[in-house]
Amino acid sequence: MPKTVLVVDDSPTMRQMVAFTLSSAGYQVVEAGNGKEAVGKVNGGTKPDLVVTDLNMPEMDGISLIKEIRKMPALKFTPILMLTTEASDDKKKAGQAAGATGWIVKPFNPEQMMAVIKKVLPG
């Protein structure tokens, strides 16, 4: 049974690349264009084993999404990784305070991303 990863990003290119990398590595990928869409997907029955989300998004940003997810009993302990740009320490802190597991710093290559995912997603 492949693990499901929910990928949330408003940039289609980024979403595609993340999704492609993950599905090449054998994960099942569900995509969402912003936080609101992601919440909709989860309420619609998707139960991700991992959430990868961008922070700066229209409709609902990443921080709010993380807070929403942590409120859901089913996803209380689900790892959440946020995509952040280089040196935004404040964003990292805010994300962690909201309940994020970790972060992936942009720009990243597939190997780096998979290394971080392997950190938090039990094989």
């Binding site: 302990f77 970790g102 720009p107 290559n109 597939p110 190997e111 938090v120």
Partner: protein
């Protein structure tokens, strides 16, 4: 893990090319308009995109270098620095370097580190307020890799209590450490565990201690705990193993230097006197220099070959949309036809004919559109010239103004790729030979600045590209003298101007008094002509002494379709490329001569041409075997002529070339095949190949 992002990579490389072009054009324009903020922003965005994207694909050399360029551009943009010739030069050089870096990233080759770090250093110096005139001194010596001796770490880790609530699993951390090396003793620290009734199952109260043997650095181990480091209690102690595990022998020289017997300079001197194996062998007369260089060549040949590049093409989505639209129409027509076919009555014949006509229209339109996909604007090939001309004018000490026009003219991508080099050569030629020095120009009453004009336009089914200069024009006497000297013509020959101009396309012809860095190295114009003819095109020259020279290249729009003459031999139909047909004649008996060892010749107005009976070449059953009753086609390629005998000329038509090599195998004398109107296959004659056959007398059945 095999995450292959190669198709995103291709997109990256293609996109990068666009950005590189934008930057280059921008930088060149910047010299004219140094204060243009929009322009600077555009250049900056180009660099920024390359930086961001290359980072995503792990081309760190590219992203780091671009970052330095970007910093300088940022300072220019924010007016902290002014645009000077030095800065532009530096940026242009850096751009070249960046191109190389990207090419290296593409082919997987190692870039020239010295150049990269040298330019990187200059960019940094420039950005730090220094001038850009610094030398290559910025090249920092590479840091030698640290000895890979094994560390022996002792770790204690008490994670934050919230560990589980953030989706973290402590066993993951230990597993990850296990991947770095050997985790030896693991002990659990339960000292913080509360009484059962106070225990919150969602909190983590445990701690761990373990020993780890690894060659990895302490920072790598710390990185494992990246996500929890701030709230964890983490200690990492490195206890080096008692015995140094390094058993690498030090070089003798190093030991001598360390023990103070010799100094580093003395050592370096001694080392520089060391000879290479090849040199020693040559000295001992064990091998000749030729043998050594051959062996060296073999060595470099065995080096991993460059990755081959799969060509791709970017197509305007509008073109694709139209195509899809047309395919839609085709499907509708097809369904209408099959509907009609299922219950057809003779009374519906007019409807059927109408539908077939519609099908024909659809097909033709789709054919045109598909051809159109391969069409790209020639501007892509032109874009390299502003930079080239800038460099050339600097080198030759001439003032040159380049005017480009007709950049939007479209032609086949393969043609565009192949004309780049010939065009470059013509532009170099104009800059070096065509245009005079500023002093000469002023003396001749012309403006100091010379003009080179590149233009492209459609003419009939062809595209014309002209390279025009307003320089001194071709020197008739000089070319004639040189032609006689080289034995290309006899002194008594009466040549028309056109024939004289064409002499410059002969191999080895160069009238340049001095060989310069730019051109006049004896290779060139003949190659230009050969390349253009290889594409099925022609080159012509127009020149006026003192006024200038115009080279006109005439090229077919595409290589996939040729204009052909269909001819018949016996029952078979062949296609002869129209471009190579000079004339067709029906010879008289006395024009045909047979010469021992040379076969048959035909006298066409005083010139003897070899006569080839096509049915002999392809072993066919002819209708006519008497040349005086048949037709002779006089074909020419690369200045050589041959008379080919066929039964009948059927007509002229455009044919789509299908490759023989890909579908069958190469056949000498046949350039390809095509499907004729009646559905049969017709061979397209390869004039070059026929000439070879006539020379060697080898015919092959086809």
């Amino acid at each position: 893990m095999s995450t292959d992002l190669s198709h995103f990579k291709d997109a990256f490389f293609e996109e990068s090319q666009e950005h590189l072009t934008t930057i280059e054009e921008g930088l060149l324009q910047l010299e004219q308009r140094p204060g243009d903020i929009d322009l600077l922003n555009r250049i900056f965005r180009g660099a920024h995109s390359i930086k961001g994207n290359s980072g995503m694909f792990g081309f760190t050399a590219v992203s780091q270098f671009t970052h330095k360029m970007e910093s300088v551009l940022d300072q220019l943009r924010s007016s902290q620095m002014v645009v000077t010739v030095e800065v532009t030069d530096l940026l242009l050089q850096s751009l070249d370097c960046l191109k190389t870096l990207i090419d290296c990233a593409k082919s997987g080759e190692a870039p020239n580190d010295e150049l990269v770090s040298g330019l990187g250093g200059r960019l940094e110096a420039c950005q730090n307020g220094g001038t850009a005139t610094n030398t290559v001194a910025g090249a920092a010596p590479p840091i030698p890799p640290r000895a890979t001796s094994e560390h022996h770490y002792t770790l204690t880790w008490v994670p934050p209590q919230y560990l589980f609530q953030r989706g973290l699993d402590p066993t993951q951390f230990i597993k990850e450490l296990g991947e770095l090396g050997r985790v030896k003793i693991v002990s659990l620290d339960t000292s913080r565990l509360p009484k059962l009734k106070e225990l919150d199952p969602e909190q983590c109260y445990l701690g761990w201690a373990l020993e780890l043997d690894t060659v990895k650095d302490v920072t790598v181990i710390e990185a494992v705990f990246d996500f929890v480091r701030e709230d964890s209690t983490l200690t990492i102690v490195d206890q080096p193993p008692a015995v140094a595990s390094s058993n690498d022998q030090k070089p003798l020289g190093e030991i001598l230097v360390e023990s103070g017997v010799v100094s580093q300079t003395e050592l370096n001197q001694a080392l520089s006197q060391q000879k290479r194996v090849g040199e020693i062998l040559v000295e001992q007369k064990a091998a000749t220099p030729e043998q050594i260089s051959e062996a060296l060549k073999k060595q470099s040949d065995n080096a991993p070959a460059k990755k081959t590049e799969t060509p791709s093409i970017r197509v305007d989505t509008v073109k694709i949309d139209r195509l899809i639209n047309l395919v839609g129409e085709l499907v509708i027509t097809q369904s209408m036809l099959s509907d009609l076919g299922s219950r057809f009555e003779m009374s519906q014949l007019p409807v059927l004919l109408e539908r077939v006509a519609q099908l024909e229209r659809n097909t033709r339109e789709i054919q045109e559109r598909v051809m159109g996909i391969r069409m790209v604007p020639i501007g892509n090939a032109f874009s390299r010239f502003p930079r080239l001309v800038r460099d050339l004018s600097g080198k030759a000490g001439k003032k040159i103004h380049l005017i480009l026009s007709g950049e939007e003219t479209e032609l086949d991508k393969t043609v565009i790729e192949s004309i780049g080099d010939p065009l470059t050569h013509l532009v170099r030629n104009s800059a070096d030979h065509g245009l005079e020095t500023p002093a000469e120009r002023v003396a001749a009453g012309k403006p100091e600045q010379g003009i080179i004009r590149l233009n492209a336009f459609h003419e009939g089914g062809n595209i014309c590209i002209t390279v025009e200069d307003d320089g001194r024009g071709l020197n008739r006497e000089k070319i004639l003298a040189k032609g006689v000297k080289q034995g290309l013509i006899a002194e008594s020959d009466k040549l028309s101007d056109e024939q004289i101009w064409m002499l410059i396309f002969k191999p080895g012809f160069s009238t340049a008094d001095k060989v310069t860095d730019v051109s006049g190295r004896g290779v060139g114009m003949d190659v230009v002509k050969r390349n253009i003819e290889g594409l099925g095109g022609t080159v012509s020259i127009k020149t006026t002494a003192g006024k200038g020279t115009t080279f006109t290249l005439k090229l077919p729009l595409t290589l996939a379709i040729i204009e052909g003459m269909t001819v018949r031999v016996g029952k078979d139909t062949y296609i002869v490329p129209l471009l190579s047909i000079l004339e067709s004649i029906q010879p008289k008996r006395e024009m045909i001569k047979t010469i021992v060892g040379k076969g048959e010749l035909v006298n066409v107005r005083g010139t003897y041409l070899p006569l080839m009976r096509l049915y002999d070449v392809f072993r066919l059953e002819p209708e006519l075997s008497d040349p005086t009753k048949a037709i002779l086609l006089i074909l020419e390629t690369e200045g050589e002529r041959v008379a080919v005998m066929v039964d009948e000329i059927l007509g002229q038509q455009q044919v789509v070339i299908k490759s023989m090599e890909q579908n069958f195998r190469k056949i000498e004398g046949v350039a390809g095949a095509t499907i004729l109107g009646d559905g049969t296959v017709g061979f397209i004659l390869d004039v070059r190949g026929l000439l070879n056959i006539s020379r060697n007398g080898t015919a092959q059945a086809a």
